[in-house]
């Protein structure tokens, strides 16, 4: 992980301190627990957001990991809530909101000037980041041709070689329907039967169904597969090292990641302060330079190099060729589809 230079870090901290100068109460002994995905990313979040936050407000932050829906369920149901803020995926937000595990968010505290776009402000969760599940492929395996769509992913004649997809119905059903010719704006509600029928065609060309972010990258590097669904962020560093890989945003699924406050959290006021802090454009820009998963922080894109901004999943050109992943549909149908998926895949 690249270290953030002292200078930019200082600027970010200064800007943040300024923007929060009005907050009078320095609650010295409050520690909020912020749950995220951990790993190397946690270091970046600590340096860019958490340490300056503590400096500005006196509120200490204890990061925990990983993001876990069963933990959220256990803590809310038992009434002993460990976290004050947690990261959540789109359909996790829907599930958790339905079950009543998240508190409504007071946007007057986070966004007093009403600058955040409406899409970022869900009733129980604030958009933290966006990412895309896209097609990643080896540029050296198809004789100069590059796959341009999920139809190409399914086309084992023009693009020979083993492939990989995630071991989850989420996204894959959409990809199958796109490959089968369904228009991106007509995807939902998903035609599950048709999707599984299309998936039947590709099943025997998929030796491995990946389960985590490190795995599918490794599959491409090792040449184990020539094409895979992939998160957009990890392929650029590979390309920069001269590896023959690339991605296309065409047909990608644009997904959102959120921050939410568990019901019964002990420091909800401080949690809101922290979420406000995460919406600072300078710090967010710094963060996106490290991890290319941008949120909808107003003023952030303007701080980025235009060439870099064009590679982000939310850049206008990229967003136009993707479809918006519908978390709500999945939260409603996940149980049934997951059961069918397991039977389809594992027997």
């Amino acid at each position: 992980m690249t270290k953030i230079t002292r200078r930019t870090f200082g600027i970010a901290a200064g800007a943040l301190a300024g923007s929060l100068a009005f907050s009078p109460s320095f609650a010295e002994d409050v520690t909020i627990v912020v749950n995220g995905s951990g790993g190397a990313l946690a270091q970046t979040i600590t340096k860019i957001f958490e340490e300056p936050f503590t400096k500005a407000t006196g509120i200490k932050v204890r990061p925990t990991a990983p993001v876990s829906l069963p933990k959220l369920k256990a803590m809310v149901e038992s009434g002993n809530v460990e976290w004050d803020v947690t990261e959540l995926n789109g359909d996790d937000v829907v599930t958790a909101t339905k079950a009543g595990w998240l508190v409504p968010i007071d946007y007057k505290a986070i966004d007093p000037d009403n600058k955040l776009p409406a899409i970022a402000k869900q009733p129980t969760a604030l958009v933290r980041a966006s990412y895309s599940t896209v097609i990643a492929f080896r540029t050296d395996k198809f004789g100069g041709k590059t796959p341009q769509s999920w139809a190409d992913f399914w086309d084992v004649k023009s693009f020979p070689g083993p492939r990989s997809l995630e071991n989850s119905p989420k996204g894959n059903l959409e990809f199958a329907l796109l490959a089968d010719g369904v228009a991106p704006d007509k995807l939902y509600p998903l035609d599950v039967d048709r999707a599984f029928k299309k998936l039947d065609q590709i099943k025997k060309h998929i030796p491995v169904w990946w389960t985590n972010g490190a795995q599918h990258v490794q599959l491409l590097i090792d040449g184990e597969v020539s094409m895979t669904s992939s998160w957009n962020g990890r392929i650029t560093p590979l390309k920069n090292e001269g590896k023959p890989v690339d991605i296309t945003f065409k047909g990608g699924a644009l997904m959102l990641s959120y921050l939410g406050i568990p019901k019964g959290a002990k420091h909800q006021k401080e949690a809101l302060q922290f979420m406000k802090f995460r919406m600072d454009p300078v710090a967010s820009a710094e963060f996106v330079k490290q991890v290319p998963y941008p949120g909808f922080v107003p003023g952030m894109m303007e701080l980025l190099d235009p060439a870099f901004a064009a590679t982000l999943p939310t850049s206008p050109a990229n967003a136009a060729v993707q479809f918006d992943f519908n978390s709500a549909w999945w939260a409603d149908n996940l149980d049934a589809v997951q059961a069918r998926w397991n039977e389809w895949l594992l027997i």
Binding site: S68, L69, P70, K73, T95, P162, N167, S168, P207, V208, W209, T211, Q215, Q218, D222, G223, E224, L334, D335, Q338, A339, N342, E343, L345, L346, I347
Partner: protein, 282 residues
């Protein structure tokens, strides 16, 4: 020799307290979801799990995989232990040390190394192509073969260590005595050492078998879609679908099946003192 009742209680209390507080009480809370939904008794979770072919197939697959891996480990491990037992104490320490070195490397990273080695463009396939055994790289990863390699690499040291312990327990003097009384080395091995050390091998085998049943990371990363084991299915119910009652049913079924296997083993070997294991006391 029998020890006094009061002393038995004194010896057992700490371990029992630990197991009761951190295992029996919490785990019972979750496993009770098998038949109880929090307010009343119900048969629904059990019905749901066993209505689906999937859990039964995966449960079967888990026990078959555990049996084959255990067999391989025992066949590979016992001769290793026998060889090590015959070394001088100093060399034996060194050998034990070598066997245990892989333990320092997390199972996660060991599994990742296999991905790199066994891949289509990995070193093994390159070697096979280079010596002309195969023209095209063969699919080694994401097959039962890869899962077995990964599991054996992880479990073999455990089996070797338990076998070695039992061979060392058998007094070397006994073997020496047999030799002095005119037994050939082979006779001394088959008539004295082997029967007496089988119980240790059995302990190792049972530990290995039980550990196999719970394997999770290796099948996920090295196995294809039909290599996933019951622990993967349970994890899915805990993490993805949040159906903890179904997870509880599967865990209970697995617990019951495991104890049935162990009981059957102990019944079969009850008359044979040499198979006495650290299992259910009699």
């Amino acid at each position: 020799m029998k020890i006094r009742w009061s002393r038995t209680i004194l010896l057992l209390t700490p371990a029992t307290l630990l197991a009761a507080m951190l295992f029996v009480y919490p785990v019972f809370g979750v496993l009770s979801l098998t038949v109880h939904d929090g307010t009343s008794f119900t048969g629904e979770p059990i019905r749901q799990v066993f209505n689906s072919q999937l859990s039964i197939i995966v449960l079967q697959r888990t026990f078959v995989t555990a049996a084959t891996v255990t067999l391989i480990c025992l066949l590979m491990g016992y001769p290793m232990a026998y060889f090590m037992a015959g070394l001088s104490p100093r060399k034996r320490v060194l050998a034990t040390y070598l066997i245990l070195l892989p333990f320092w490397i997390s199972v996660l990273i060991r599994t990742y190394t296999w991905i790199i080695l066994l891949g289509r463009e990995g070193i093994l396939n390159k070697a096979l192509v280079a010596i002309g055994l195969t023209a095209e790289p063969i699919q080694l990863l994401y097959t039962p073969f890869a899962v077995h390699i990964g599991m054996v690499q992880i479990l073999l040291p455990i089996v070797i260590l338990t076998c070695l312990t039992s061979i060392l327990d058998v007094e070397r003097d006994l073997v020496k005595a047999a030799r002095i009384l005119g037994a050939t080395p082979a006779q001394a091995f088959w008539k004295v050492l082997f029967p007496l050390s089988v119980s240790g091998a059995a302990t190792g085998g049972i530990i290995c078998f039980i550990l196999c049943l719970g394997f999770f990371v290796t099948p996920t990363l090295l196995g294809g879609r039909t290599s996933l084991l019951i622990a993967n299915l349970i994890d899915l119910q805990v993490h993805k679908t949040l159906k903890w009652d179904l997870a509880a049913v599967m865990a209970s079924a697995m617990l019951a099946a495991t104890f049935t296997c162990l009981l059957a083993y102990w019944m079969l070997t009850r008359k044979r003192a040499e198979f006495a294991t650290g299992g259910l006391a009699r």
